[in-house]
């Protein structure tokens, strides 16, 4: 357990070495980055083993290790203000570690081929290692401050990676947009952390705060406020409804980056935070969980609908990510941590798979727009097959991992929430089926729409296909971890839920009715999609023309971007220029220079007293004498 700190340390060391000696290493040091993340991946297993064999009876004692970073004792109060660097491992951490390290390894191996020949090849791997290190730090940290530090560092790496090709104006703008939006979210997170520290037990340690809250330490409304503010941070990072605008634009970055950051790891940090802090959400006012639920739902619906209209394949997958994240938050909204973590675990694999598949398509055809692709299955059989697995997993077809995770979410949603929520989720299943099949059909099947792209199409080399296959395997097999038998076989105390909820036993039962309804709806959506978009997709075109206003609304992403831009331009920048003008004219010219001019002109007037004529001078003397003597006589005598 106590070598858990090595996991983030190795990539961090790799980052430091690459930063300084990167350009001089052979192959710009990409092997060093991969070796580092590989080592971290391997290290996860001994930590897991430690965690498992510590299991005394049903509960697992979570390991913790901390060093002092800042500490000084507070005068008068007698306590010490302490900030420490500490690591805390428990099942949720293990799930996150597994997903992050594995997907990062796959992506970095994939990137060797994808990024070959890029002018800043070394810099790419340097930032990748920094990203891995900060993500692992975020996941492992035992106190809120270190979590916040990892959180910001991850945001900064996403800024660097989205803006990797900063020569492109759009990439630079996208990077800036991403970082600012997440920063706005983080304002809430920081205030939340400080509020928790303020009324709490004078420490940032998460476990102590949770126990303090569970003993009723915080008063209710105060805790709700703090928790909702922290949720605001999660909103920013995981691209939920109000702050989701940056994720679609984040596709400007290289595709492996999108695969790693905008599918499997960074965007789920918000989910991890809420999962970690869920006891606080439960102690606080129920409104908190309802807010999480509502936000999740709106994101699900918005992203699903927008997916229908987008033509760029990476953007469609990005919307599917938003869709999945929405689902995870719905699960958390109904305080189903196991379901959320399961979906996160599984989603990591098949979403990375979809992105990498899209990547290999782009890598081969240099083309991202669906309307110019089509019929690539013949040219790229492996990618097509693996992409099919990913699409079906996303839709949630029976044997694949997506189905089991989505079902868990549906089950908990049905039990915990009212019927409307359940119906909305079911409708989202249909739409997901529609737009995912549209994606697959438009890119891989039927006649190619543009010959040039089709000719260029070729299967990627081993470095591309091997990661795809591994992820494809995990996407198919991953779901079965839910069953207890499979869990025991692998040495776990039981199924996935059992593992996540260490102390309370959570048996996995298979709810036949939800399974059937979800499969029917999902399958129906897929078939409908096939029918609509086969051959020349005339049927889809006719429908689009009939509902023209709706499709334009969707393709413009509900004009949310434009509204935000309007708000920023008018209010924020406007206010800025008004204040700048105010500062220059009123405070500076009026106030400061004004008083100086006042002094200058009194002097100017006084100057003319000096007329140069002697009698006036004599008059001044006489006046002086008179005033002096009269005043003297009047006051003294």
């Amino acid at each position: 357990m106590d070598q858990a700190w090595l996991i983030p340390a190795i990539p961090a060391a790799a980052f430091a070495i690459l930063l300084i000696f990167g350009p001089y290493l052979p192959r710009k040091g990409d092997w060093l980055a991969i070796a580092a993340i590989g080592a971290s991946f391997i290290l996860v297993f001994p930590v897991l083993a430690d965690l498992l064999d510590q299991a005394d009876g049903t509960t697992y004692v979570a390991g913790e290790k901390a060093w002092e970073w800042i500490s000084f004792d507070l005068a008068g109060v007698g306590e010490k203000f302490e900030i420490e660097i500490g690591f805390y491992v428990d099942p949720i951490t293990i799930v996150m570690l597994a997903v992050v390290t594995l997907v990062a390894l796959m992506v970095q191996v994939y990137s060797i081929a994808y990024m070959k020949g890029d002018s800043r090849y070394g810099w790419y791997f340097t930032v990748m290692s920094l990203f891995a290190a900060s993500m692992l730090l975020l996941v492992l940290s035992n106190n809120l401050l270190l979590l916040y530090a990892g959180w910001e560092a991850v945001g900064f790496c996403s800024f660097l990676l989205i803006g990797f090709w900063w020569e492109k104006r759009s990439a630079a703008e996208a990077a800036k947009k991403a970082f600012i939006t997440t920063r706005i979210g983080d304002v809430g997170l920081l205030i939340g952390i400080i509020m928790l520290w303020l009324e709490g037990p004078n420490t940032f340690n998460i476990q102590e705060i949770i126990t303090f809250a569970e003993e009723g330490g915080y008063d209710n409304t105060y805790l709700t406020g703090a928790v909702l503010l922290m949720f605001m941070g999660a909103l920013g990072k995981s691209g939920q409804f109000p702050l989701h605008v940056w994720l679609p634009d984040a596709m400007e970055g290289p595709t492996p980056v999108s695969a790693l950051i905008h599918a499997a790891t960074m965007v789920v940090a918000g989910v991890y935070l809420v999962a970690r802090m869920l006891p606080l959400f439960e102690v606080a006012d129920p409104i908190a969980l309802d807010v999480v639920l509502v936000v999740g739902l709106t994101t699900v619906m918005i992203s699903a609908t927008m997916g229908l209209a987008a033509t760029d394949i990476k953007r469609v997958i990005a919307y599917s990510t938003l869709n999945s994240l929405g689902l995870m938050f719905v699960a958390l909204g109904s305080s189903a941590v196991a379901a959320a973590m399961l979906y996160l675990f599984v989603h990591g694999f098949f979403k990375a798979l979809l992105f990498l598949g899209a990547g290999s398509v782009i890598h081969a055809t240099k083309e991202q727009d669906m309307n110019r692709l089509g019929g690539l299955a013949a040219k790229m059989p492996i990618t097509a097959a693996v992409f099919a697995i990913g699409t079906l997993a996303m839709i949630g077809i029976i044997p694949l991992s997506g189905f089991w995770a989505k079902d868990e979410v549906l089950v908990f949603a049905k039990e915990e929430q009212n019927i409307i929520v359940y119906l909305v989720l079911l409708s989202s299943l249909v739409i997901t089926g529609l737009y995912m099949t549209r994606l697959f059909v438009r890119t891989f099947l039927f006649a190619p729409r543009e010959q040039a792209a089709y000719d260029h199409a070729h299967e990627g080399g081993l470095l591309i296909t091997v990661p795809l296959l591994i992820l494809g395997l995990l996407a198919t097999v991953g779901g079965f971890v839910v069953f207890d038998e499979v869990g025991e076989a692998l040495g776990f105390p039981g199924g996935f839920a059992q593992f996540v909820f260490l102390n309370e036993a959570h048996e996995f039962e298979f709810h036949l009715d939800t399974a059937i309804t979800s499969s029917v709806l999902a399958g129906g959506g897929a078939v409908a999609g096939w029918i609509l978009w086969q051959n020349k997709a005339e049927l889809a075109a006719r429908i689009r023309d009939r509902f023209a206003p709706v499709s334009t609304l969707l393709s413009n992403r509900y004009y949310i971007d434009e509204i935000y831009q309007f708000v920023i331009d008018r209010i924020v920048l406007g206010l800025g220029s008004i204040i700048a003008w105010f500062d220059r004219v009123v405070v500076n010219d009026g106030g400061v220079d004004g008083s100086a001019k006042l002094g200058y002109f009194t002097g100017f007037e006084a100057k003319f007293l000096q007329t140069g004529r002697l009698p006036n001078y004599a008059l001044a003397i006489v006046v002086g004498i008179l005033v002096l003597s009269i005043a003297m006589l009047v006051t003294q005598v």
Partner: protein, 493 residues
């Protein structure tokens, strides 16, 4: 009235007067000596007189009832001879190039120093008045000395007539004080005024008011300052320096001694009037200075501003305030002479005195520019230089006598004064001179300048030795204060 007078005590004055006559004769009979060397000769005489006055260091003698020769007088004798020597050296080249009959010029300077010494030494109103008139007359003559220069003529006329007018007023004041207290001795006046003065109030206060007016003129306090800019601008530059240094220093020496010994009992009556004068002087002096375009007029108004600070010392009259005042006066005199040396040098080279014409002085004479900058910063009260330490001590002494508001006003106007000094500094360093040639360096003036700047740095960085000397000097005029407790006045100053 002991009639036996120790004439030896006035040796420095006799030497000066004799030397003045000697200078005139030399100029008359031995033309070959040349105007420049005549200046040096005069300077030697003055220095000799200064050296002579050191005989009476920490000695307390009395020249009849008229004057007393003690540390106070010695300090001021040395100060005045110092000023005189510097002025003689500085005016050597100026007189050679621009003035006729230098003999009388230097003689008048020497006589002015005699007058100044008399004012500091006087212990009695009549002697003080006569020395005051001697000083003033020589300055009137020197101001109008450039016969064919219209401005010098006009300046001299204004200075003369207004001077006569105000000395008449001053005399009327003395008359009233003499009438009411029955004597012209400071100590006796002090004693009478500390007694009950119910019946003689009218005459006394009117006399006091008139004397403050007259003295106000001599030190150029505000309502009476009108002549200063014209006199400064009109007079030949070395004489402007002389007026700004000698007239002010002698005026305050007399002002301080008179008020410390004679009028101290009435301090609560006249304190707030002097404070009022001080505020008016600082305000007008600094504000109008901002508008000036001619360097001489600028320095005139700056010296009016400085007088405001010195009046502050008088308003807060106590032993500490008096020594702080004298220290600030020494700092001011040294800094002012340094500034005027630079102005004289530039005038000798180029004949210019407008601020715009100081463009690019830093290119052409970097050392002179640096010294002028140091002097100006010291006048503004910036640290490292004399102005900061002396102003700090003076204002703190005033604050100690619970005149904090006055110290605050003074601090404010000291800041206002920084503006017009910066204007001059800006011209020197930022402007571009017409031609880039370096001026040839007159070694004598440079050494005088270096000595003065060293003085500015000394008082700025470590004023303790100078302050000790000043402390002993002011102790003598405040002896009567300690004695008040019970013993009657022995009449020993």
């Amino acid at each position: 009235m002991s009639t036996s007078l120790e004439w030896g005590l006035l040796a420095p004055e006799f030497l000066l007067a004799g030397w003045a006559a000697f200078i005139i004769l030399i100029d008359l009979f031995w033309g070959g000596l040349g105007k420049e060397r005549l200046g040096w000769l005069a300077a030697i005489g003055v220095v000799a007189a200064g050296g002579l006055s050191l005989i009476w260091v920490n000695d307390a003698k009395q020249f009849g009832e008229l004057a007393d020769i003690n540390d106070y007088t010695t300090l001021f004798r040395v100060l005045f001879t110092g000023i005189g020597a510097t002025i003689c050296i500085l005016s050597a080249r100026y007189v050679r190039d621009r003035l006729l009959n230098p003999g009388e010029y230097y003689a008048l300077i020497l006589l002015a120093i005699v007058g100044a010494n008399g004012m500091a030494a006087a212990h009695e109103l009549l002697t003080a008045y006569i020395s005051l008139e001697l000083l003033s007359f020589s300055l009137y003559a020197l101001t109008a000395y450039a016969k064919f220069d219209l401005r010098s003529n006009e300046g001299g006329l204004k200075y003369m007539l207004l001077g006569a007018f105000s000395s008449a007023i001053f005399l009327y004041g003395i008359g009233l004080i003499y009438g009411t207290t029955g004597s012209t001795q400071y100590a006796v006046i002090g004693e009478v005024l500390s007694g009950d003065t119910s019946d003689i109030e009218w005459g006394m206060y009117l006399g006091l008011a008139l004397m403050i007016g007259g003295l106000g003129f001599k030190v150029a306090a505000v309502p009476f300052h009108m002549y200063t800019p014209d006199a400064y601008e009109g007079a030949p530059i070395p004489i402007t320096a002389l007026i700004s240094a000698l007239a002010k220093a002698a005026g305050f020496a007399f002002f301080l001694k008179l008020f410390a010994v004679a009028f101290l009992p009435l301090i609560d009556d006249w304190r707030y009037f002097i404070a009022g004068l001080s505020v008016a002087t600082m305000a007008l002096g600094n504000l109008v200075a901002i508008q000036q375009r001619n360097v001489k007029r600028l320095l005139a108004y700056s010296s009016i501003g400085q007088v405001g600070y010195l009046l502050l010392g008088i308003a807060a009259l106590s032993q500490d305030a008096a020594s702080a005042l004298v220290l600030h006066m020494i700092g001011y005199v040294v800094t002012n002479l340094a500034a005027f040396t630079c102005v004289i040098l530039y005038y000798n080279w180029t004949g210019k005195e407008e601020i715009e014409e100081y463009k690019g002085l830093a290119e052409r004479a970097p050392y002179v520019a640096l010294c002028l900058t140091i002097a100006l910063f010291s006048l503004a009260g910036m640290p490292l230089f004399a102005g900061f330490a002396t102003k700090f001590i003076l204002f703190q002494a005033a604050a100690d006598q619970d005149l904090l508001w006055l110290a605050a006003v003074a601090a404010f106007f000291s800041f206002v004064s920084l503006y017009y000094y910066l204007i001059l500094i800006r011209e020197m360093y930022l402007g571009e001179p017409e031609e880039k040639t370096r001026f040839q360096t007159p070694w004598l003036e440079y050494t005088a300048l270096t000595v003065l700047i060293a003085g500015v740095f000394l008082i700025g960085l470590y004023p303790k030795p100078v302050f000790n000397v000043v402390e002993d000097a002011t102790a003598t005029i405040f002896v009567s204060e300690e004695l008040e407790s019970g013993e009657d006045l022995v009449g020993v100053p």
